[in-house]
Symmetry: C2
Subunit: 558 residues, 2 copies
Amino acid sequence: MAFKTDIEIAREAKKKPIQEIGAKLGIPAEHLLPYGHDKAKVSQDFIRSLEGRPDGKLILVTAINPTPAGEGKTTTTVGLGDGLNRIGKKAAICIREASLGPNFGMKGGAAGGGYAQVVPMEDMNLHFTGDFHAITSAHNLLSAMIDNHIYWGNELGIDQRRVSWRRVMDMNDRALRDVVVSLGGVANGFPRQTGFDITVASEVMAILCLARDLEDLQKRLGDIVVAYRRDKSPVYARDLKADGAMTVLLKDAMQPNLVQTLENNPAFVHGGPFANIAHGCNSVIATRTALKLADYVVTEAGFGADLGAEKFFDIKCRKAGLKPAAAVIVATIRALKMNGGVAKADLGAENVEAVQKGCANLGRHIANVKSFGVPVVVAINHFATDTEAEIQAVRDFVATQGTEAILCRHWAEGSKGIVDLAEKVVQLAESGASNFAPLYPDEMPLFKKIETIAKRIYHADEVLADKSIRDQLRAWEAEGYGNLPICMAKTQYSFSTDPNLRGAPTGHSVPVREVRLSAGAGFIVVICGEIMTMPGLPRHPAAEVIRINDQGFVEGLF
Amino acid sequence: MAFKTDIEIAREAKKKPIQEIGAKLGIPAEHLLPYGHDKAKVSQDFIRSLEGRPDGKLILVTAINPTPAGEGKTTTTVGLGDGLNRIGKKAAICIREASLGPNFGMKGGAAGGGYAQVVPMEDMNLHFTGDFHAITSAHNLLSAMIDNHIYWGNELGIDQRRVSWRRVMDMNDRALRDVVVSLGGVANGFPRQTGFDITVASEVMAILCLARDLEDLQKRLGDIVVAYRRDKSPVYARDLKADGAMTVLLKDAMQPNLVQTLENNPAFVHGGPFANIAHGCNSVIATRTALKLADYVVTEAGFGADLGAEKFFDIKCRKAGLKPAAAVIVATIRALKMNGGVAKADLGAENVEAVQKGCANLGRHIANVKSFGVPVVVAINHFATDTEAEIQAVRDFVATQGTEAILCRHWAEGSKGIVDLAEKVVQLAESGASNFAPLYPDEMPLFKKIETIAKRIYHADEVLADKSIRDQLRAWEAEGYGNLPICMAKTQYSFSTDPNLRGAPTGHSVPVREVRLSAGAGFIVVICGEIMTMPGLPRHPAAEVIRINDQGFVEGLF
């Protein structure tokens, strides 16, 4: 039997009007702002009216370190949401929006896969409800106001060499990484070197995803440090009076988007901060809204648990006061084999030994997540090539870690294939076993926080940082930023900073190359290794084959 | 009595659900793609289903040369639409969308004014339905693909010094007018000088507004000339295989937006090409759709009739096969006085002589519009300070021009105040007097077309152009572009190229500074004087005071 592709399955979806999906959560039609017939935003007024309601249970879906074999974290998030609904729980999922630009480079990401998908897939991979465009506008308005302020006399005394705020575009465009602006003479301002990042890397994106409401949004936007003076004192977006207009540009984008799974269950898709220089989680406002409306909310965090879960716990949950009830760690036999040293080309053959070896990676993630006080279950996202012996090897290993590995067939079967996991998640959540606490207290010194993450989560021996970096951290502490959490930016492929070091390495060092203050978002970015804030297009970008075909369908995007 | 502001009136509007507005035109709810409860796009499928239906009558609203006193062209367009509905005609209006960027510089434009407005005003001045963002994305995807092509080996042999396709942003940002990109070394490409225009100046905007359907859109996008080789042969967007993906990005934006007037009559608001380097009219697809659905369609064109009406007739109507049934020329007593030499500060005092003198400007516009075979009526957009003697002076003058001037009080009274004009427009349209023909035939040589416009419309003695410009025009003729219409770009404040020459100047010269080919849009831009394709922000941009106030309303935008 030939399998259907994700897009074929998505196109066959029997979508319900979005008002019916909203009704499942008790959202009245007048508080759903429709975008077409299958997407809607939930009104701010309705969200405000939910204050004081009790929260449902929050379930995090995270994963082992990603490999080219794929793990299916979003697929499992979607499947688990459907599975919980199937066993009679009122459940919603919360995931991130896709970035438009990269879809024109490589083939775009579906939201989930197989029979565990969110629709409408095409819209979600194109403009969706315009949130990212609003973020681009708000970001670039601030950029324009900085150069405009300098142009008209520079009353604030901005040091043109120290403008840290760049511009953004939702596009893979390497030519914009490093540019000189304001050429062409007096009328165009003072030439200076700057650049563009992709929109998802904007601090405005991180802010939108961490803000509790419009008021908090505006405060955080005002807190952005855009430049420094010659005396190195910071200039804030507030000093330029940009925060009000930016908030106006973002007021619609702040309203969470509601769509549906293939099984017509509610899915909030909102926000999409980079998982490296930001925290990689969907918006706080969507998660909090979903918790008020559903008994179970399933969400995910970017990359593997070393980065994604740690930042979810230490940044998002800490700052939003969220208390996760349980966590699911997704693994595939294929990815475990790669973590056990098998090359991608050899993944087809049974290799129990490699699976066992790769389980070291899984084991450390289990221990790490447990160390936050959150109970864990492992989901084995089933592939047709998995053998019974390989699956049993994972079951046996996970049992030694004091938890359980459950085989899930949601990709092929939808909610029917993930009932066991759903029941286990309910059992863990209802048990009250969760005793969530972040990894480090707010008041810990910044460098000590970095060391704590490196040693306790990555199992590194040491953190290496130049004096200038330590001095910078101390300077921020003196300025009152010492209580901020850390946002680690390192390779997602390893616990270490070496992408080729799979499994569960120990004894490595974590070299810190750079630290950046995101004062509006409210974290310190610690960069270990190269990070790319503006991707490029490949030799043959997907854009070359993307088109509307004779049937009126979009081709080449997926 | 204190007058209410436009925004106060707009906020008191009793808006009907957009499905009810659509129903007035016979658009079934399933073919309206809602954006919130008060905006919707009309589906492509529905538009296709209208083929073969008879067209309603098309009415153009144009104006005398604009002055700082204001004429109220959009206000009259909206008022006339309401007025036609009031007298029992099934009427719709078609106007342009507002550009987001400039609203953060100067206070933003309402759509109409007083009791002749289109709502929701706030949304229309912010992101609306995202059309302009889609245009920005499509434009910049092409830009990225050009630099990416050069980066990966430049198979097409693009001369990097001759890349004419720039980037765009919907923002007033003078720092981006002239930039160097691809700095920073090998990984970022080959440094070259380029720049950004504001989105409304994008050829993609003009193309969207002139394309008949998605197929035509894709063809035109492919026709864009993006660069030249060293042998000066053109490189097209099609050569980069960018046209399919750009079409996908624009597929939603191609669907016309439906909103409503304060009197709950249908208004199509779609597209917004610059009135200088483009043709300044709303989209062909919106106008054609409206004509299939309404008995009367009232539309407008940018700037005064010398630019707006001429381009509406010679570009939009010619290319889309539209036959306008009548035209309204809007004038105000105040603007006529300014055309008669009165300074803005002195407009409050009665000055019949200045009105009479200013009528020379009006008279020439009447004659010009008539020369296209379209019957004309003059609308005097009433201001409280107008005196009876001044109004009578205009009436008397217009009578000598073989038509009629009608006093309109739609700003203060809504449709009730514009019934006389509506009835006159119906009389002209029903009379069958219109015998529309463009000013010049397709096959006229390009320079001769420029001369024809300059002499017949502007009443200039001559067109001045360097040999290089005449050579360029001849080269385009040789390449097969000789049949394109001309898109004049000159000051809107005068029939001449001198903005201070009000009234009805004669004997002047029209110096052509530059010519540009818009091969996708399908016109030759002829630039006479400075044109600005990327505005800057003023010393104190409106953005500084734009904010959401305590009542949750947007403040400072209007």
